[in-house]
Every structure is written in structure tokens, then in C-alpha cells.
Symmetry: C2
């Protein structure tokens, strides 16, 4: 068999595989529609998107994958397949913090795939509002945006919102050094958000030991400032800021940590079931007495429950001075979590479960 | 069988389907790797990405699709499957006109799927340069951006570049009315690129009959102008301009035509084979005599070949006063096209085939 015949032969095999895949994709969509029909018949308010079920499918797919496709690639394809099947069940509206092209849009696409309708909102409050008023089924907002410091807006919004956390998305974020200059040696000043400076400290020490580091409110502001100055300055910012402010990229991916990720929350109205690997978010206030926080957290340690994050925020309701946002590992349906949380609730002056949801798979 | 059992039953069937799909996806990737191996062994310069083959697969998939998944959805899934298989063969670098979040990025993703490495470039010339110097295998540039008028940069670049056209992508574009005002009745002036005004004329007449329409160089400039003015003005622009310039969205999708698409070209070094439904792009200059253009185009009409577009541009080489960019239907391997082009070549003082490539499928 010559090369041409060999190639034609394999292409025919690929065509045969494609026919089978297409049949199976449509079979799967038909099954998903059947699930939808049964749920509708039951008369209850039906949740078509099931974050815990999707997380379980993706984990299974990744665990059993033998290649040659990389596990993350296969998971990405299954995310899209589930997205398409869901759209055949019921078109999903998802609001996110815009503009188009924002990291939050990328996070929303990563979570929901390409078949949902994504609606950019101008503020985090607008995203909450869209879901609260049922204009969108779900919302996606940044919660730990290490470089832009937007965390507080999202957390504060939960104090007054009835919405729940239905999922989390993590995204890798890269930093770029932007300037009007063409050479690193001409840079004597670097502007950036303090956290961006911290994340690139080693690179800055090695490449720009002579440069003055000037902290600003945001990386966008840094890029804007560099654009307005005649020379010798640079900004740490996202790629896109180069075009918006007419700067050149002097260096790429200058973050010290290879794994510089930003975290987003999926907000919704659903109670998400356990997926096997879950997190639970709490909003609590302590009684106003010394050692109150330690007492509050003791049940978690006693039950060997990991706390992955705690953040204090001034309460706006005037009843408590501070509220705490606490993330723990586990789902409220797990007995150890349920009993620890019941003890924790006794010690708090305010206690709300913001949601149990699957830990980000990819 | 109660509802819970029925759902569990269907979920099990979905899991079984998923297992089969995953196996087939990996089988397909293994076949693609085998194709790559045969090509490498042959010693020739191998093209791993075959636009005509992808177009044929997508057309077949859409034609035979029986649902319940929509044909466009299945095609989108197959685009992603081919993208993942290609990445398993050879990671592909694609340069595009940035910034991230631009329409051109969306076009690049639509053409190449989510598994390629996309690199944003600052200018159209930079995209050409990246491909010419082999820093990217392919480039994606706008060619008929009806609202921003960037057409000329791309066409002019072909006059001096050896690159070929390897594909086209079409994208639907929406217009938004952006303003600091909250009510339409407060708008007395609308800024926009003349083509954007033309595309929204009916909507403007109905909704803002009293408003003065002010043409500017680009819609981005219009948004910027509105941001700088105290009140009563609005801009027609893309969604994202709202956030960049701090404006509110007063109205969405105000274009009169439902099908307001923008066209992009995939540029590369490849000779793309016929897919069955193709287009060919020509760059020609006429001999300087009366009626030369009519004579030039006669062979096309005589051979019943449709010309889909003609655009004259001033030549920068000084030898010809004008050059013409001509798009026709058909592939240079089709006998009618070949013979018509050979006649056309005789009539022209300069003649270059910029490429035959598959017509956009989706």
C-alpha cells in the first residue's frame, strides 16, 4: 500500500468513527431530553443544569482516560458535549461580569461550554441582580482576583442577596510587562497593583533590579499611567491592556508562580447535591466577646474539616461589626460537615450557608 | 418504575454512551497521529491542518444530522473534536489581530477550535509577519469589517506578502447604542462610523428621529467621544466599548439586517486542496487601456463563474496605478476555473492567485 492509499484508508476509518460519534452525541442529547421530560412531568421546579453531575462526569472521564488525547482535552470536549446536550434540553442564560473578552467571560465559558447564552454585565451587582430577578439562570463573578482586588464586591453582595453559590471556576492568569520602551534596560519605574508586584517580585529582582516599584489601585491604571508618561516606565498588566493603551509587550508570563490562578463563583438559586469532592461556603458573625472566633472555628478542627479560606468583612447591616466568609472542604450532606456546622451555628450570632458545590475539576 | 429510578436508569445509559464516545474520541486521535506519522515518513513538508478536509467533514456532519442536536451544534462539537485531535498530532500556533476579546479572536476560535495556541498581535502587519517568519503556522485577519473599515490594511498587505489565503471565517456582529444617558429621549446626537450608521438607519429613524447623526472614523472613537461629552450624546459601538469607556447600554442589537456578518481570512503558506465548495482569491492589475477591466472579467462570465467581490486598491509598487482584488466561486483545480483564469491572466499586466480555500461552513 503506498502512502496515498494508506492515508485514504485511515481517512475512511476516521469517517466511520465520526459517524458513530455523531450518532452517540444525538443519542446522548435524546437521553438528556428524556431526563428533562421526566423532571417536567414531576411538577417540581426542575434544575436542568446539575453542577455536581457534570463534575462527576468530568472526573470520571479524566480518571479513566488512556490517551492519546490528554485528559484535560477530553474533559474539555465533554464539557462542550454536555453544554450542547443541555442546550437541547433548555437554553441556559448566564450573566457574567463583562466586558466581552474579560477573564470572567473566559471563566463562564470554561464552566458552561459554548452552547449557553452569555450576557455581559457592567458590575458585579448587575450580575447578582440579573440572577435574583430570573433574567439569568446563573451568574459568574470573580471572587479571588488577585491582581484587581475585586473580591470584596462579590463577598459584600452575598450579605444582602438570597443567592447561593452553585460552583467555582479557576483560571490561570498571566502577567505581562507593558511599556512604550523597546528595551528592559530603559525601564526605571514599574507601576502595578501591589499584588501583581508581589506575584512578579522574583522576576523583577532579576530583570529590573534598578527599577522603582510603584503600587497603584489596579493594573489597568498602571497601563494607563505608562501610556500618559513620556518614557522609562512600564506596567504589569494583562495582555489586552497593551492594545487598549497602545503599549508594547516587553515580557510575557513574568509571574513567579507557575500556577497563578484566579477564582470565580457561579451564583444561582439551586441547592447543589454532593459530587464527592465538594466545598461549602459560610457567612457567619461572631458573638462580641474575646476569643469568639477561636471558639467558632473549634468544631471544624474537632471534626477534621479543612478550612480553605477565611475573610473578614465589615458588616453593612450595623448589627454585627464584622462578618466572616469561610470556605471549608466537604458538602453539607456529609455527616461530619453537618454536625460541625450545627455546633458552629450555636456559637455564631449570624450563620448562613452560602452553598455546597463541586470543587473545580479543571 | 418511579421517577428516581427512571432518572437513574437514563443516567446509567448516558454514562454508557459517554464511555463509548470517549473511546471513539481517543481512537480518532490515534488515527490522526497515524496520518501524521505517514506524512512525516514521506519526507515532504507535511501540512497537518487541512482546511479542505475539515470543511468536508463539517459539511457531511451537518447534512446527515437528524437531531435532536441542532446541525450547527454538532458541527461545533466536531470542530472541537478535530481541534483536539490536531493538537495531539502537532500543536498549532495561530496569530490573530488582537487584543484578546477582539472579534478576530472569536473568528480564530471559530475556525481552529479551543485546542490551538492563539497569539494576539497588535497590527494586521504583525499577523502577516508572524506567519511569514514561521512564528505562527496560520494567521487570522479581518478583511471585510463593515464597521471599522479595516479591509484595506489586509488587502494591501497581500501586495507585498508571499502568503496565501487558506480559509475564510464569517461572524455575526451586533451593534449597541451606548451613552451616559439612561433614556432614549435624552439623546440628541449619535456618533458612529458611517457604515454603522448605515447598518442601523431604520432603527435610528424609528427610535431617534430627532437625533443628529455624526459620522466618525471608528465606532471606538464614537464611544470615546461620548465618554468625554457631558450629556445628550450616544455612540453606536460594540458591547465591550461600554466597559472600556464607562458607558451604559441603552439598546442592544440595533442593526437593521438580521444577518450582519463580518468576514475574516485565514492566511498561511499552504496550497489548500478542493473541498467541493470553494472560493478563489485573485490579485490582478489591468493593462492601461480603455475597457481593460471589462475585457479582463469577460472570461469569468463566459465560463459561468460567479465573482463574489471586486475591490480596487491603489498599487504601492508604482508599476500599476491600481490593482484589483477579485473573489470568485470555485477552486483552481476545477477545469472551468483553471481555463477562465488562464484567459484572465493573458489580459492582465499582473496576476497572482492568492489562494483557493473552502467557503465558510458555519
Amino acid at each position: 500500500m503506498n502512502e496515498k492509499e494508506a492515508l485514504a484508508n485511515i481517512r475512511q476509518k476516521i469517517d466511520d468513527i465520526d459517524l458513530k460519534i455523531q450518532q452517540l452525541l444525538n443519542d446522548r442529547a435524546a437521553m438528556a431530553q428524556e431526563v428533562a421530560r421526566i423532571k417536567m412531568d414531576s411538577g417540581e421546579q426542575a434544575d436542568f443544569y446539575r453542577p455536581e453531575r457534570e463534575a462527576m462526569v468530568l472526573r470520571t472521564v479524566m480518571e479513566r482516560n488512556q490517551g492519546p488525547l490528554a485528559s484535560a482535552e477530553v474533559a474539555r470536549l465533554f464539557r462542550e458535549i454536555m453544554s450542547a446536550c443541555l442546550a437541547a434540553e433548555k437554553p441556559l442564560q448566564v450573566a457574567y461580569l463583562g466586558p466581552e473578552g474579560s477573564f470572567t467571560q473566559a471563566a463562564a465559558q470554561k464552566q458552561f461550554g459554548g452552547s449557553v447564552e452569555l450576557h455581559p454585565m457592567t458590575t458585579i451587582a448587575d450580575v447578582f441582580h440579573a440572577v435574583e430577578t430570573s433574567h439569568a439562570c446563573y451568574g459568574v463573578v470573580p471572587v479571588e482576583n488577585s491582581t484587581e482586588g475585586m473580591v470584596s464586591h462579590t463577598l459584600d453582595r452575598f450579605i444582602s442577596s438570597p443567592l447561593k453559590i452553585n460552583g467555582e471556576v479557576t483560571l490561570r492568569i498571566h502577567h505581562y510587562l507593558l511599556s512604550k520602551e523597546k528595551n528592559l534596560e530603559d525601564i526605571s519605574k514599574v507601576y502595578a497593583h501591589p499584588q501583581a508586584i508581589a506575584q512578579c517580585r522574583q522576576w523583577l529582582m532579576e530583570q529590573l533590579p534598578q527599577a522603582e516599584l510603584v503600587p497603584l489601585n489596579s493594573n489597568s491604571e498602571a497601563a494607563k499611567r505608562v501610556a500618559a508618561e513620556p518614557q522609562n516606565s512600564a506596567a504589569i498588566a494583562a495582555n489586552r491592556a497593551a492594545d487598549i493603551y497602545g503599549l508594547s509587550i516587553l515580557a510575557r508570563n513574568i509571574e513567579d508562580e507557575v500556577d497563578n490562578t484566579t477564582r470565580f463563583l457561579v451564583i444561582g438559586t439551586q441547592n447543589v447535591g454532593p459530587s464527592g469532592v465538594d466545598k461549602t461556603a459560610l457567612l457567619v458573625a461572631t458573638k462580641n466577646k474575646p476569643g469568639a472566633l477561636q471558639t467558632l472555628l473549634k468544631p471544624l478542627a474537632d471534626n477534621s474539616i479543612s478550612m480553605t479560606r477565611i475573610e473578614s468583612r465589615p458588616s453593612r447591616k450595623g448589627i454585627w461589626e464584622y462578618v466572616f466568609f469561610i470556605d471549608i472542604e466537604g458538602h453539607i450532606h456529609e455527616p461530619a460537615v453537618a454536625s460541625a456546622l450545627s455546633l458552629l451555628e450555636n456559637e455564631s450570632s449570624m450563620f448562613r450557608i452560602l452553598g455546597s458545590y463541586p470543587k473545580a475539576v479543571l
